[in-house]
């Protein structure tokens, strides 16, 4: 079925003319022949395999390494569009950090009645261990991914905040490398802002968050769950590019009041730990006692100011979709400004009237679990069968707190290079944001995810989505 509403295509206007941001690319494309482009596509895949840019899939064929499909038509954002996005993202990330600080201290926003107490106290991602803790530099979420969708020329909306551990930045970098290797002449023709200095910016931003006890050149390490984790490639990639050690829990222990890594020369203290291990596994003494992935006692050292953990434990609460629905209030409460970037309208099924509305309109809505991610456990009304909808309604009635609903958005499209030529597919965009006491730094670009199936709105790589190189044009 394909009753999708007419949607905004970022490359072509309704009359078939090319939009200004894509003019240079389009001109170049005209000079290419389809067969050689197709060949390049195959080259790109073998390039990814050779480099080992793969992700591991959980479940069936566990341990198998897969490629995320790469589409060679870039997603292009004009300098003007980007400027506005940057302002909106800065505002949102500032509010997110203020919110996180507040809920782990005085909870003014709850006292003011703007966010219900139960959404925080009853939230599994809320960590009482973090209450009253002074985190180094006052920063909670150091690396943020803001998922944006577009529905019109000027309509960008935030679909999701990723304040916990946003992944995918290695694809932003490798997609660009691949494009530049395949089509070097394209980059002399169209002026694209570089992304390749992201690792350097990340290293700088993390070093700026070091605790007071750190030396002049803070020691930064990346903590990975290990080579079987789905994002291991990215962990190794970032550590390598930053010149930081890539550590596992078994390399670390508490020595003389510091978290230290076992080097060939004995234990060496770490100042900043960029951890890609979930909160729950971080410290078996404070959280999940069965964890082998973390460091016993790290939370004590953290509390004493002996290490910076990025992102801070307990930031995941900001990713919660029920909290998300309050983001306009949250932005206003902490910045005193109206949000520059809109939220997608959201019904909280925990509220009686909303639930009734959602149940009645399931066939038109997208329903998501509040704690869910990766495109799992959601209902997309318009593409679901009657039975699927009826089954989902039961789940929804049984546990309304667990869900939010949103209208099925007419997500913008960007063409992909398919067998039949250029054909439009839905996209989203995840820019990567770095936060330190020295400021907010947004790399011009991000990860564009693209639904490869016609009409599909699901862009998650775990659900068969692909990626594109994302360009921000120079002024």
């Amino acid at each position: 079925m394909n009753h999708s509403p007419p949607c905004f295509d970022e490359m072509f206007a309704e009359d078939g003319s090319v939009r200004p941001a894509y003019a240079g690319y389009r001109e170049w494309l005209h000079g290419q022949d389809a067969a050689s482009l197709r060949r390049k596509g195959i080259e790109a895949e073998s390039f990814f395999r050779k480099t080992g840019i793969t992700f591991n899939v959980y479940g069936d064929n566990a341990g198998e390494e897969r490629l995320i499909p790469f589409d060679m038509v870039p997603r292009i954002i004009s300098a003007h569009e980007w400027r506005r996005l940057v302002k909106g993202i800065e505002q949102r990330v500032t509010a997110l950090n203020a919110f996180l600080h507040d809920i782990y201290h005085r909870q003014e926003i709850v006292r003011a009645g703007r966010v219900p107490q139960r959404l925080i106290a009853d939230n599994a991602a809320f960590l009482p261990q973090m209450l009253g803790m002074a985190v180094p530099g006052g920063v909670y979420t150091h690396i943020v991914g803001i998922d944006l969708v577009r529905t019109g020329p000027d309509e960008f909306m935030v679909l999701e905040d990723n304040a916990r551990t946003p992944s995918g930045v290695s694809y932003m970098l490798e997609n660009r490398e691949t494009m530049m290797a395949m089509f070097p002449e394209l980059f002399t023709k169209v002026k694209v802002r570089p992304v390749s200095d992201y690792p350097r910016r990340l290293a700088k931003s993390l070093a700026a968050c070091a605790p007071a006890c750190a030396g002049e050149r803070p020691v930064v390490a990346v903590l990975t769950p290990g080579i079987y984790n789905s994002a291991y490639f990215e962990h190794a990639f970032l550590a390598d590019q930053m010149g930081a050690e890539l550590v596992e829990g078994s390399d670390l222990r508490v020595v003389d009041g510091r978290v230290a890594m076992r080097t060939t020369q004995g234990y060496q203290p770490i100042d900043v730990l960029y951890r890609r291990v979930d909160d729950d596994y971080l410290d078996p003494l404070s959280f999940n006692p069965a964890s082998q992935l973390g460091v016993p006692g790290i939370m004590d050292i953290y509390r004493a100011g002996g290490i910076t953990i990025a992102n801070a434990p307990g930031t995941g609460i900001a990713d919660d979709k029920a909290i998300y629905s309050f983001m306009p209030e949250i932005v206003e409460f902490y910045t005193g400004e109206r949000p520059i970037l809109a939220n997608v309208p959201t019904w909280r099924c925990a509220e009686k009237d909303s639930l009734a509305y959602v149940l009645e309109h399931l066939a038109e809505l997208v329903v998501k679990e509040v704690h869910g991610s990766g495109g799992y456990g959601m209902l997309i009304g318009p593409t679901s069968s009657k039975k699927e909808i009826a089954d989902f309604a039961q789940k929804l009635r049984a546990k309304p707190d667990n869900y939010i609903a949103q209208p099925t958005l007419a997500l913008s499209t960007v063409p992909i290079f398919a067998k039949s030529g250029l054909t439009p597919r839905h996209v989203d965009l995840r820019p990567f944001v770095l936060v330190s006491p020295k400021g907010i730094d947004i790399t011009p670009g991000g990860l564009t995810r693209v639904a490869l199936k016609q009409g599909s709105l699901v862009v998650n790589s775990s659900q068969g989505g692909g990626t594109k190189d994302s360009w921000v044009l120079e002024d």
Binding site: R49, G52, Y232, E245, E248, M261, R262, T264
Partner: protein, 315 residues
């Protein structure tokens, strides 16, 4: 550098070296078997398996039947064999992946490619007609990794630990090849001549890629003492025990230089190096070739263990 990373780099190199050595042994065995009748050929294949220390596991799976095609498939790709070339390449790649940050991109890509190419080449049983090609592919992939390693790696601790892995493994391998064949070499010390033994000697040389170098150095005359001297004591031949010991010394020296102090491993190795320096082939035969080799294997292992301890490979 993390102790775990040093460990991973070291084992990556050992597995790669082992895969290549296994391929060379199969190649030598194959050539020997071609010149023998069926039952003698089985003896040759059995000796290949014994050299690799896999006789017990092999017989547990297939009994005492050492048919060539079965043996080489067992050594190359059998799922029941955790020491197969395929398993070793996989282990090398897994180790490389876990120490990705200690390697240059080119080294990692060479190892990843070796794994992709060999996984493909070993996806189906290897028939006699294809064996030569498959063995050449293994050697070529190993050579490619070595080449990118040599051409792109900084000469620091990462480099030293990786090279130490290579030479611990290589010394051990050459020693074991000699040890299995010493009974062939020994009785013929007194007399030179039978064509059968000439073929055996050639095969020993071939399994360490030394036939040409040896012939060149000895003007074509093959005698057991000369071969033993060549494989044990010649400092110029890259697979001799003495060469491996020298390389261990220079890489351990690199570590001492970088870290500013020596460890127990240095002491052990110094003793071993001195021994090699002051031993002649006559003395080796006098005190027993087998005993000499066994003592080397043990000393080599002790050095390896000391390195693991001194440099905190494990928690």
């Amino acid at each position: 550098m993390l102790g775990r990373t040093a460990n991973g780099a070291y084992w990556m190199a050992r597995y790669l070296e082992r895969a290549e050595n296994t391929a060379r042994l199969i190649e030598a065995g194959f050539r020997m078997a071609l010149t023998r009748d069926a039952s003698m050929a089985q003896e040759e294949w059995k000796s290949v398996i014994t050299t690799l220390g896999q006789a017990k596991a092999y017989e547990a799976a297939y009994g005492p039947d050492y048919a060539g095609e079965r043996v080489w498939n067992y050594l190359l790709r059998d799922k029941a064999n955790p020491g197969s070339v395929l398993a070793q390449i996989e282990a090398a790649r897994t180790n490389a992946r876990s120490v990705r940050t200690a390697l240059t991109r080119e080294v990692w890509e060479a190892i990843n490619e070796a794994w992709m190419v060999l996984k493909d080449a070993l996806a189906r049983p290897v028939r006699e007609g294809a064996l030569g090609q498959v063995l050449a592919a293994i050697r070529r992939q190993a050579t490619q990794v070595r080449g990118t390693f040599d051409g792109t790696m900084l000469r620091n601790e990462n480099y030293n630990f990786t090279r130490i892995g290579t030479f611990v493994e290589r010394g051990d391998s050459t020693a074991r090849i000699l040890d299995v064949k010493y009974y062939v070499l020994l009785p013929s010390l007194a007399w030179v001549g039978s064509s059968l033994d000439n073929v055996q000697w050639e095969s020993v040389l071939r399994s360490v890629a030394g036939e040409r170098a040896y012939r060149w150095l000895n003007a074509g005359s093959i005698d057991p003492k000369g071969i033993a001297e060549f494989l044990l004591l010649d400092q110029r031949f890259p697979r001799s025990l003495h060469f491996c010991v020298d390389k261990l010394r220079s890489n351990l020296f690199g570590l001492a230089h970088e870290y500013g102090h020596e460890t127990e491993a240095h002491e052990l190795l110094r003793a071993l190096g001195t021994q090699f320096h002051h031993t002649s082939i006559e003395q080796v035969f006098e005190s027993g070739l087998h005993e000499f080799i066994q003592a080397f294997i043990k000393a080599n292992q002790q050095v390896a263990q000391a390195i693991e301890r001194d440099y905190r490979f494990y928690a």
